[in-house]
């Protein structure tokens, strides 16, 4: 791939980084990323991946933009209320960077469609709002050997980890979804909009560093922050031998839908 003059100018602040350079930018320009959920996490992630020049960005979401989304879902604007989120996000991505190819999937992920959706992507960003989807994304990525970034947010707190094939997965840490009602949801407990932005941006940075192949991803560790006190910490872990999907005797061998999403107060798309 030869960068055009316009591309050299557009991506000059990347190219000037010794860890990125022309080669790293070319890898970004050849990369394919999938964002599942275009809410508080997926919105900033999509904006940064588009600006960075990721070649293909897949967008998965079955919902339409609602007024209460706009406090944090920064890819959607006031005139977008009522519009499918994937269309709203596609329009912004195209306006930021016409080089980017956008594929839209106006649906939720389920056990019977997720395999086909993730198939052609290099890296997956989990920006979903419920545990059923989070566990499904983990299981699908483990079974298909696809790397993905997990992100969770609540009130002023955020957590992120990255799965790479062969390393600890989300189920190594959290074996199964919590019982319904045990964990408050964002719609019940609230979320500071900027916290979603911080975490979605961390997820975008994981994706870009994965594509470039530089630095240490959040693999085998979880980054946890409390934005009320603005403190960050991390917890290291190893693969869990009793993990139900990647452990020694896995009980999960095929994808299945978990029970009713714990964080879902909206109608199903």
């Amino acid at each position: 791939m030869n960068l055009s003059e316009e591309q050299i100018e557009r991506y000059s602040r990347h190219i000037i980084l010794s860890e990125v350079g022309v080669e790293g930018q070319e890898r970004i320009l050849a990369g394919k990323a999938l964002i599942i959920g275009l809410g508080g996490l997926g919105s900033p992630a999509a904006l940064y991946l588009a600006a960075a020049g990721v070649r293909t960005i897949g967008l998965v979401d079955g919902d339409n933009v609602e007024l209460s989304n706009l406090q944090r879902q920064v890819i959607h604007f006031s005139p977008d209320v009522g519009k499918p989120k994937v269309i709203s996000a596609q329009e912004k991505i195209k306006a930021i960077n016409p080089d980017v190819k956008v594929s839209t999937y106006q649906e939720r992920v389920y056990a019977d469609n997720i395999r086909d959706i993730i198939k052609e992507y290099d890296f997956i960003i989990d920006g979903t709002d419920n545990f059923a989807a989070k566990f499904l994304i983990n299981d699908a990525c483990v079974l298909a050997a696809k790397p993905f970034s997990h992100g969770g947010i609540l009130r002023f707190d955020g957590q992120a980890m990255t799965y790479k094939p062969g390393e600890a997965c989300y189920r190594c840490v959290f074996t199964a979804p919590p019982p319904k009602g045990a964990v408050p949801t964002c719609s019940q407990a609230g979320i500071l909009g900027a916290v979603a932005g911080m975490l979605g941006t961390i997820q975008a940075a994981e994706c870009l560093r994965f594509l470039i192949g530089k630095g240490d991803l959040l693999v085998n560790r979880m980054l946890i922050f409390d934005a009320l006190r603005m403190k960050f910490r991390e917890v290291a872990f190893k693969r869990n031998p009793s993990c139900p999907i990647c452990g020694k005797n896995p009980s999960i061998k095929e994808l299945r839908d978990e029970e009713e999403p714990a964080c879902d107060l909206k109608k199903k798309a």
Binding site: L154, D157, Q159, C172, V173, F174, A182, C186, R233, C263
Partner: protein
Amino acid sequence: MKIKINGREQEVSVTDLSIAGLLKIAKVESAEMVSVQLNGCFVDKADTDKTFVKDSDEVDFLYFMGGGV
């Protein structure tokens, strides 16, 4: 005994303290909300009252966080 909880050293005066007991002391509202790591290994949810902490152990609580909404 001194144990490290979430990276911070704390003095605990209770003896024969199980993970389940520690969750109560640490005011974790519900054991269902967390995954517990003891010295770098995850503790099975079914074993939290059979697993005991000792001096200089390191315990981490990892909370479920769902919302990307």
